[in-house]
């Protein structure tokens, strides 16, 4: 059985990931929709659309970095 403090740390790390992942998902949803719309008009926009769609992915990665730093507190 882990102690409460460790559990809170784990919870914090989980929140960091969850929050940033939801944020990124919302952002990507909107961009992705727009990108598909643009592609329907002009197929060459695939490259740009793809890149624009993954731009908010950075948010999750920052979340992950923070989560790892939080877990580092447990050691």
């Amino acid at each position: 059985m882990v102690d409460v403090n460790t559990g809170l740390i784990a919870l914090g790390a989980g929140l960091a990931i969850a929050g940033s992942a939801i944020a990124a998902a919302i952002a990507e949803k909107d961009i992705g929709t727009a990108a598909i719309g643009a592609m329907a008009e002009k197929e060459e926009l695939f490259g740009k659309g793809l890149i624009l769609t993954v731009i908010p992915e950075t948010i999750v990665i920052f979340g992950l970095v923070i989560a790892i730093m939080i877990i580092g507190m447990a050691h």
Partner: protein, 601 residues
């Protein structure tokens, strides 16, 4: 290598009499990117050569033949390169004649079929009522009404009109087939009555043939249609390559015939403007002078700063597949550096850094080598992915990982850095790689901006490097120097980009932090692999069915991880280039080089 091919702007003037010869030799040269003339006060556009309508007509015939033969010429092969215009023209005319004939034949057969189907339907309708057409056609005093109706007419209603009648009916699906015979002079009233019952009258053809006759006719018709289909397939097989070849060459001829539309033309002379690669200039000069006996005036000069020069990327064989990424994004403009060769080094580096596993690297490499054999159209992309797989193997060796395992058969693989255990070091390493990449981008940006003046370039690009130094100094000391540098950066960026530059100050740190994805994706991939190995290990230990489960877990788990491992690192590696790296120096928007007489097939 870092520049796209250099061009010169060519302007040529010659008499109209030479037009044909000039067009022909320009087409053979296949090097001039023509700048289409727009009508202005000085010169109109030219008129197409005399054979243009005939060529368009031939092209239409080709596509109509292909259409009838159910052929997709885009997918066809050329076969050989033989082309003789007169022969081709005659053959197309003949073929068109033949195909039109087949087309008429098909139309007639289809019409017959429709007629026979109708007869068949009428026949079975009458059969269901037990009637024979001979028994009531050609009567004068008696009229008939053969119809389909939702409900049966009430006899009382009919009797109000006439006592002398005969009604036969039979249920047919959800309606009734009815046949009503009555005195011919009551026809109008009967019809009016039947309309009230919503009866739909069947048109019975006079002299309707018997069942057997209709059946045998239908059979004969079916056979004829099948024969026609065979003929069609046969013809299609024979002329497929010929048609493709003809289409290709006639299109080229039409290009030539319509070329004058792109030239400036006066009563007696024409002017041709365009861009030509420096390497082709001498050749063009010689050929055109020879063909016109020197009756041509040519000017070659460096493109001006406002010219929209076409782009032909010029990279060594090894990095050429990476031009794919430039076409996917946007071609560099004429004055910019072409980063293809840089991506050739950095893309596999990032990809490898993220996936970094010898087992995965070897697997993906084999996969891409096989795919390359079967899908030649994706050759460029697959070559890129093979390079990325090599990067993965190299980093896999550095990280000491094979399918997520650091220990293989009890032997600890040597490693420079263990991703699973040295996360902090991995993060710092990622950020260092990012800082190097971004600053390299800034240097390229500095070179790109040099033509706007040295100090502008310094203010726009070097300022960001000073900013990074300032941040380091503020963190590690001596602080006053750091603050002084920060102030200097603010001043420089304000000079270069105004308030917008100052607002964007923190972006450079965001950009560098973005490279932490190098660690994050790698870590996710390793962790997943380790979990798969751990779970399957537990199953193996259980024995029995556990061994089967363990094997399945390993196969499915690692397949999914490899699939994710190709998609994620590919996209993120690309993104690091397009967003973080290109953002520092690349504008793009280059025009694709399309020379007159280019061989496209």
């Amino acid at each position: 290598m870092l520049r796209s091919e250099r061009f010169q702007r060519m302007t040529a003037y010659c008499g109209k009499a030479r037009l044909d010869a000039v067009i022909r030799s320009l087409h053979d040269l296949g090097a001039l990117h023509i700048l289409d003339h727009r009508k202005d006060e000085q010169a109109d556009i030219g008129e197409p050569l005399a054979d243009a309508p005939m060529l368009s007509d031939l092209l239409i015939k080709i596509s109509s033949i292909a259409n009838f033969l159910n052929m997709d010429l885009k997918k066809a092969m050329m076969g050989s390169n033989d082309f003789d215009f007169q022969y081709t023209k005659d053959k197309i005319e003949k073929l068109f004649h033949k195909v039109s004939h087949l087309q008429d034949e098909e139309k007639a057969l289809k019409e017959t079929k429709k007629l026979l189907d109708d007869q068949e339907q009428q026949r079975s309708f009458l059969d269901s009522l037990g009637l024979r057409p001979e028994s009531f056609t050609g009567l004068t005093k008696v009229a008939s009404f053969i119809a389909k109706a939702k409900s049966l007419p009430e006899r009382a209603d009919i009797e109000k009109i006439s006592e002398n009648y005969e009604l036969a009916s039979t249920p047919h699906r959800d309606s009734h087939s009815i046949a009503l015979f009555f005195e011919a002079d009551k026809a109008e009233q009967i019809r009016a009555l039947m309309t009230r019952y919503n009866a739909v009258e069947m048109d019975i053809q006079e002299g309707l043939p018997g069942h057997d006759r209709i059946k045998s006719d239908l059979e004969a018709n079916r056979k004829q249609l099948a024969e026609l289909e065979l003929k069609r397939v046969d013809v299609a097989k024979k002329v497929r390559r010929f048609l493709k070849r003809s289409e290709f060459y006639i299109k080229q001829e039409l290009d030539k015939a319509q070329a004058p539309l792109r030239f400036a033309t006066t009563d007696k002379a024409i002017r041709i403007t365009g861009y030509i690669p420096v390497s082709a200039v001498e050749d063009a000069k010689k050929t055109l002078e020879k063909i016109t006996d020197g009756n041509i005036l040519m000017e070659f000069k460096e493109p001006g700063s406002k010219d929209n020069v076409p782009i032909r990327l010029d990279n060594p064989d090894a990095s050429r597949p990476f031009e794919f990424f430039m076409r996917l994004y946007t071609l560099p403009s004429y004055k910019e550096l072409d980063p293809t060769s840089i991506m050739f080094l950095t893309f596999p580096f990032f990809f490898g850094f993220m996936l970094g596993d010898m087992g995965y690297g070897v697997t993906t490499m084999i996969l891409f080598l096989i795919l390359k054999k079967y899908i030649p159209s994706l050759r460029d992309l697959l070559n890129v992915m093979i390079a990325a797989s090599i990067g993965t193997i190299v980093f896999g060796a550095l990280f000491g990982e094979v399918f997520g395992m650091e220990v293989l058969f009890g032997y600890q693989l040597p490693h420079v850095l263990s991703r699973a255990h040295q996360i902090t070091e991995l993060l710092i390493l990622s950020l260092i790689v990012g800082a190097i990449h971004i600053n390299f981008g800034l240097i390229l940006g500095f070179i790109n901006e040099l033509h706007h003046g040295f100090w502008t370039a310094v203010n726009e690009k070097i300022s960001w490097m000073i900013l990074q130094a300032a941040a380091l100094l503020i963190y590690f000391g001596p602080r006053p120097v750091g603050y002084a540098l920060l102030a200097l950066t603010v001043f420089m960026l304000y000079r270069a980009e105004g308030v917008k530059g100052i607002v964007e100050l923190p972006s450079i740190f965001g950009n560098i932090l973005s490279y932490s994805r190098l660690m994050a994706l790698g870590l996710a991939s390793v962790m997943l692999a380790m979990i798969i190995n751990e779970k399957s290990g537990e199953m193996f230990a259980a024995g029995g069915f556990g061994i089967v489960g363990g094997i399945l877990t390993i196969l499915i788990g690692h397949s999914i991880n490899i699939a994710l491992g190709m998609l994620g690192p590919f996209l993120h590696s690309l993104r690091l280039h397009y967003v973080e790296f290109f953002g520092k120096f690349y504008k793009g928007g280059g025009l694709v080089y399309r020379p007159f007489g280019e061989r496209r097939s």
